[in-house]
Amino acid sequence: MNAFQDSASSGREPAPDPALQILIVGGGIAAQSAAEALRERTTDAVITMVCEEPRLPWDRVSLSHLLIDGGEAEELQLRPSTWYEDHDVTVRTGVRVEALDTAFRTATLSDGTTLTWDRCILATGSDALMPPIPGIEQEGVVAFRSPEDCEAIQAAADGGRPAAVIGGGLLGLEAARGIAARGAKVTVVHLMDRLMERQLDANAAALLAPAMEELDVEVLLSKSTTQITGARGRVTGLEFADGTSLEADLVVMAIGIKSRTDLAKAAGLEVERGIVVDDRLQTSAPGVYAVGECAQHRGMVYGIVAPIHDQTQVAADAVLDDPAARYDGSILSAKLKIMGVDLVSIGAAEGSGATVENREERSYRKLIVENGKLVGAVLMGDIKGHELLLDKVRTAHEVDDALALLAEASQASAADLPDTAQVCNCNGVCKGEIVQAIQDHDLGSTAEVVARTRAGAGCGTCKPLVKEILLDVRGGKVDENTYLCACLKQTREECASAIREGGLESVSEVAAACGTGRECGGCNPALAYLVSEVNGNRHREERHARYINDRVHGNIQKDGTFSVVPRMKGGKTTADELRRIADAADKYDIQTIKVTGGQRIDLLGVKKEDLPAIWEDLGMASGMAYAKSVRTVKTCVGSDHCRFGLDDSMGTGIELEGMLEGLYTPAKVKLGVTGCPRNCAEAYIKDIGLVAIEGGWEVYVGGAGGTEVRKGDLLCTVATKDEAISAAITFLQYYRETADYKERTYTYMENRGLEAIQAVVFDEEEGAALRERFHLAQAAAIQDPWLERRKPVVANQFSELDTDAPVYGLAPVAGDDVVAAQHAEPTMAAASDQLAITYSEPATDPTTGSTDR
C-alpha cells in the first residue's frame, strides 16, 4: 500500500488503519447507489455487496418494459458487469444475508460463509404488500415487483382472459396499462373514490380516469375487495363489499409496499414500519445504516427512487465519518410513465394556489402555495416545466404571483433551469452535474452524457431534456454519433470510413482495424451489416459474425426450432403456392401455421436440419422475416377490384417488393402500398408507405405501428407511380447508408429531421448517386438466401454432429423453375452469378470453414 510507504518515509504519521470493510446488504437501486456514493468518496474501503436476487442490480423502475416488450431483467442492468471489476466492488449475487451480529460485526450468509464488516448498510428494500384478503393465496394472484411477477402476468395476459389490478396508484396504473398493451381486458379496482389520491387532487384525478379508459383500462372506484374467489385453487374473480363482483383470471396486487425488516429486527435493531434511522441514516445500532425502501426516516418510508439517491449521498458521508452528514428528508415527486398520459405530481397536492385548466386539450396545471411559499404542483396533460417547479418546491421558493409562475414554467427551456434543478429523478442527477460533465469531458452526444452522468438511464423520460441541455451547452453543436460498440470505441461513420479507405471486406478485418484488441462479439452482427453495406454486398461473408437467424435463414423460436416464412410479394399468392405450403406443413409436422401481419404465412416449429428440405419442397423464396432487412410490402387490393381504388396498389407493391427483395437494412423495414387514403394497407404507419391519391401518389417515411405508433412523415407528393418508387428507394438507400444499426426509420426520422433528409434525397446529384449505389447493392444481394440449400456457405451449415442430416448443395432438384424464373427478372441481371459474387465457392479446404476465395 502506498500510504504505508509514505508514512514510513516521512516517519511522521502512524501506520494507517487497515482498509475499512463495508458490507452492503441488498442489490437494488439503493444498494447500487450506496456503492457508487462510497466509491466517489474513497478508493480504499473494501466494499462488498450481497444480493439475494440471482442477478446484478437492475432498474426496477423500468419493470413495465419487461411486461410490455418482454425481454430480460439483465437488459435493465444498472451497470455493466465490468463496472464492478473496474470499481473494485465485490458483488455476491444469489446469496442472502441470513443474520447480522452487531456486537461482533459479522454477517452470516445463506451459502454458509461469514463476513466481517466495520460498517454495514442495509438496503433490503421491500416486498409488495399482500393484505390478508380471503383467497389471496390462490394461484393467479401476483404482485408487480419482480421479473418473475412479469412472467406470470404475461403468461396470464397472453391467454386473453380478463385481469384485475387492485390498487389505483402509480404502480397499479402502470401494471394495468402493461396488461392492456398485451391485449387482455383489464380493470383497475380502487378503494378510494379517485385514482392516485395521494398525489392528485380531485380535478386532476377526474381527468386521469377517462385517459386510462382510452388506453383500454377500465376503472372501478370506491370498491373494497372482500374476497378473491376461486375454483380448484385458481382465482376466478373478486367480490366487493357492496355486493358486486368482477370476473378475473389474474389478480395483480398493487396497493403498496412492505419494508423488508426481518433481518434488522432479528439483529435487534429498532424497527417500526421500516428500519428506523436518524438524520445520519444510522440505525439504532452504531455502524449500521439503512437506505432505500427499507428505511424509515422521521416517520417516512419512501417508495420512489429520488429519495434513495439523497439518502445514499448522506449515508456515504456518515459511513466515512463526515460530521456534517445530515439528511432532512426528500420532496416527493411522481411522474406517471404511461405513454399518452402525461402526469407529474410534486410535493403537496391539496391546497390553494393557482390553477390553469384547458378542457379541450385536457390539461390541468396547479400550483399549491402555503404561507407564500411553493409547496406543491400537479401537472396533467401538459407537464412542461416540471423540473423547474420541482426545484422551486425543493427550495421553498417565495411566490407572489402563482399564475405568473405557472406561465413561466410552461415557457421554460433547458437554458432557464437553475443548476440545482433535478433532471433525472431516477438517478438523482441535477442540471449542474450534467453541464459540468459535458464541459469537463467534452461530451458531444446524448448517449455519452447518459453513459457518464446516468441521467436518462432509468425510465428514460428525461432524455429529451438531457439532449436539450446538451444542445444548449454546446451551442447547438451536437453530434449524435454514438460508438458502434464499447469494444470498438469508434462510431459507425468512423468504422465505415475505415472500411472504405482500407478496402476492408470482412468483419475480422474491421475488428482488427477498429478494435481495441478485444472483440466482444456483441457488435459482430452490426459490423457484418456495415461491411456488406459499404462494399455494396461485395464483401467476404463470415458466417460466425451473424446471428443464427442469418446463418440458417430462419427465425429461432423459444424451443430452438425455426420458423419459415416464404416471400409472398404484396401479400398476393396462388392456389399452387398454397397447395405446396399445405403439403409442406403436413410433411414436416408444422406445429402452427399462422398468417402474419405482413400478409404472408408463417410455418412454425421446423428443425434446423429440415430447413433446406422444406425450402426445396416449398419452391418459394425466403421472406427474410428473420433478418434486419426489407421484410414485406403490404398492399390492399386497390384499383383492380376495389370501388374506391385510385391506382394499382397491388401491382405497385409487388413491383416495389421485387426491387427491394434480399436487401439487408440497419433494422427491419416494412412497407405498405395503399390504393387510396382509406389506408387499408396501413401505409401511413409503415417505414415506407405509398398512398395513391387523386392524380398521383404520396410517399410517407418513418411510420411505426409497434410499441410506438407514429404516422410517417410526408416525404413527397408525386404524379406517377414510378416517381413514387424512385423516391422510396432513394430514401431507403440513404437510410441504409446512414442509420445506426438497429435504428428503426421512426427514430431515424426523429433524430435527423424530415427537411434534412429531403435535402439529400431530392438533391439531383446526391439522389442519383444514392440510386446508383442502391442498384449496385441490389444487383449483388442474394435475392433468395434459401438457395443456399443448393450451395451452402459451409457444407454442414444445417446439420448437428448428432444428426445424419443429408448434405445439401449437390445437384439442383425439383422446384428449379421457380429459381429460374426469378433469375430471369430484369432487375436481377447480375443474379445468375450472384452466388459467385457475394459468396465465394465453398472453401476447397473445409477445415477453415471460412469462405476465403
Binding site: 440471482p54 439483465e74 449475487t93 459451409v794
Partner: protein, 120 residues
C-alpha cells in the same frame, strides 16, 4: 500421425470414456454444433485456437447454445443473450449459474469428447 497411431490412440481413448463425435471439418470456425453423449446434449465449438465443449442447454431457458455467437472466449445464447464462458462454464453476471464444461481432444482429424465427471 499415421493411421496406425490414430487407430491405437482411438482404442486408448475409447477405453478411457471418450467418444468420437465427428471430425474437425464438421464445425466451421467460431461456430458450434450439438452432439449427444449418453443422452446428454453437448455443444462443441471451434475456436480460433482449438475446441471447447459445454452443455448444449442454456441454464436460463434451455436455449440451444451451439447456435450462439462465439467471441472473446464466450458464447452468447441465441435466445436471451446470456454470455457463457467457454472455459469455466460460468454465466457472466449470474454468479451460481453455469453449465458443465466437457473435455475435447483432437486426434488426427477426429474430434473426441468426454463428459465432465460431474455429469457422468
Amino acid at each position: 500421425m499415421i493411421p496406425a497411431e490414430i487407430a491405437a490412440a482411438a482404442t486408448d481413448l475409447a477405453s478411457a470414456g471418450w467418444l468420437k463425435v465427428g471430425t474437425v471439418h464438421d464445425i466451421p470456425e467460431l461456430e458450434g454444433r450439438r452432439t449427444t453423449i449418453d443422452g446428454h446434449k453437448v455443444a462443441v465449438f471451434r475456436l480460433l485456437d482449438g475446441f471447447a465443449a459445454i452443455d448444449a442447454e442454456c441454464p436460463h431457458k434451455r436455449g440451444p447454445l451451439q447456435d450462439g455467437l462465439v467471441a472473446d472466449g464466450c458464447v452468447t445464447c441465441p435466445l436471451h443473450d446470456r454470455r457463457i464462458d467457454l472455459e469455466t462454464g460460468d454465466v457472466i453476471g449470474h454468479e451460481g449459474e453455469g453449465v458443465a464444461v466437457h473435455e475435447v481432444h483432437v486426434v488426427g482429424d477426429d474430434l473426441w469428447v468426454r463428459l465432465a465427471t460431474a455429469v457422468v
